[in-house]
């Protein structure tokens, strides 16, 4: 099925072949994202960005992706100065934006907000994070980073570390990795374990998943360590936050015991989970990961808005 005109709310909305189509297109768009090549695939297209929660890299990478391909954006970056502050419902805001733009990117603090937006919008909606729920474009760029480095996703051993309960990036990522046949090792404090429904889904699809609280044991023979930030804003109990936030910090000394091809990933922003010494090692992949956000979002936007990328591949 073509991606043209489609909503992307959850990674579940994309088949494996559609995910690979986006990742393949993204690979060919890297020179465009680097400014070395010019395309005008999205000329005349307007993307509305509605961000009801603070975001730097997600919003900027969507804006960059659109502009690098000749398109334009309109943005709600601060809902406190929009009609939302007057009590307008999300449904009405989305209807209004869908009248103006050709597609809509939404970040919202409430889970399911993008699904609702997709129902009321007659233009495609891309979920850029809804509360502790889904964040499918982050998953796509995470997969792109692993695929670029290892040329495959099947059989990769990926350790997911940190906040697996509230960290929205890991839920989508675990689902996608499971469907591609990667092996998952979960390493988190017990209070931040993967939610039961996500684990249930992984078991249903027959994914290889195990838990290992000891990071040193978890990363032995691993290909990827995916570190998430323990998010203060998701904790009701600040004492619990203080207790667990200190306990998950990657010790660079552990890099002496890993495979030479081992990479460390992080959706960023990091706080103290990965010390800067790791940045200087060949294992650090998180800045490449942040860069790949642009070609991946270019690929997705161009396939949704025009059904093609404008580059050969």
């Amino acid at each position: 099925m073509s991606l043209k005109g489609r909503d992307v709310i959850s990674i579940r909305d994309l088949s494996r072949s559609e995910i690979l189509e986006v990742l393949n297109a993204a690979r060919h768009l890297i020179p465009v994202a680097e400014g070395k090549k010019r395309v005008t695939t999205l000329e005349g297209k307007l993307l509305a960005l509605a961000f009801f929660e603070p975001s730097t890299r997600t919003r900027l990478s969507f804006e960059t992706a659109m502009q690098r391909m000749g398109g334009q954006t309109i943005t709600i970056a601060d809902p406190s100065v929009s009609s939302v502050a007057k009590g307008e419902s999300l449904s009405d805001t989305v209807r209004m934006l869908s009248c103006y733009a050709d597609a809509l990117v939404l970040r919202h603090p409430h889970e399911g907000a993008s699904r609702l937006a997709a129902q009321v919008s007659d233009k495609p909606v891309i979920n850029a994070g809804d509360g502790a729920g889904q964040h499918p474009t982050q998953t796509l760029l995470d997969l792109a980073t692993m695929l670029e480095r290892f040329d495959t996703l099947s059989g990769l051993k990926v350790v997911l570390m940190g906040d697996l309960r509230y960290g929205r990036t890991v839920h989508s990522l675990a689902h996608a990795l499971g469907s591609f046949g990667a092996e998952l090792v979960l390493s988190s404090p017990s209070s931040l374990r993967l939610p039961e429904e996500v684990r249930h889904d992984l078991d249903q699809m027959g994914a290889k998943v195990r838990e290992e609280e000891q990071l040193e044991r978890a990363i032995k023979d691993a290909d990827v360590l995916y570190v998430t930030r323990i998010q203060k804003e998701r904790f009701g109990d600040l004492a619990e936050y203080a207790r667990v936030s200190g306990s998950y910090r990657f010790d660079p000394a552990l890099l002496q015991k890993v495979k030479s091809t081992f990479i460390v990933m992080h959706p960023l922003p990091r706080v103290a989970e990965i010390p800067p010494e790791v940045d200087r090692t060949p294992h650090a992949a998180y800045f490449r990961q942040a860069f790949l956000a642009v070609p991946v979002r270019m690929a997705l936007l161009s396939l949704i808005l025009s059904g093609r990328t404008g580059v050969r591949g």
């Binding site: 419902s89 919202h108 409430h110 399911g112 907000a113 889904q134 039961e196």
Partner: protein
């Protein structure tokens, strides 16, 4: 459906026969009052009789509850809600003292407006003009997932839309 008139027995006469209405039988013992909440019997017209039998001997179930409501035929939404909390229940439609239809409750694959999402951060709990929607992801034991926030639930009584 053909008419199915069963001769009254002593047991049935313990609660009043009804001319027109609905009998919900084979409710797991102890859940009749929850079924009454689903039916919103407080909104029935004042001439309707509601009979409730609690803890009745049942060959099939050991013990069961029965609810009879006059002048009411169940909407699909109420029938779905009963299927969630009392999956063994059977529904009989009575017209002129005769059982005109009798069928077990059945649960569709999607439930609209029947449950509220247990996730307080779900968009359906934040004043948007939208009905809740759940898909059945597993039937035994029953589990449903919110079509919006994708949160699963296996306990339904506290989350029935009232």
């Amino acid at each position: 459906m053909p008419s199915n008139v069963s001769a009254p027995t002593g047991k049935e006469l313990r609660i009043t026969p009804i001319r027109n209405g609905t009998v919900i039988d084979h409710i797991p013992s102890g859940l009749a009052l929850e079924v009454l909440k689903v039916l919103k019997v407080e909104n029935l017209d004042k001439d309707s009789t509601v009979s409730v039998a609690l803890h009745v001997r049942s060959q099939r179930m050991g013990w069961k509850d029965i609810v009879k409501v006059e002048h009411m035929e169940l909407s699909a939404q109420k029938s779905n809600a009963i299927a969630l909390i009392a999956p063994t229940a059977t529904i009989s439609i009575i017209r002129d003292f005769k059982v005109r239809e009798k069928h077990p409750v059945s649960l569709p694959d999607r439930l609209v407006g029947v449950l509220t999402c247990p996730n307080p951060n779900c968009i359906t709990n934040h004043g948007e003009p939208v009905e809740s929607e759940f898909e059945v992801v597993r039937r035994r034991p029953l589990a449903v997932r919110c079509a919006y926030c994708e949160r699963s639930m296996e306990e339904f009584l506290p989350h029935l839309a009232r």
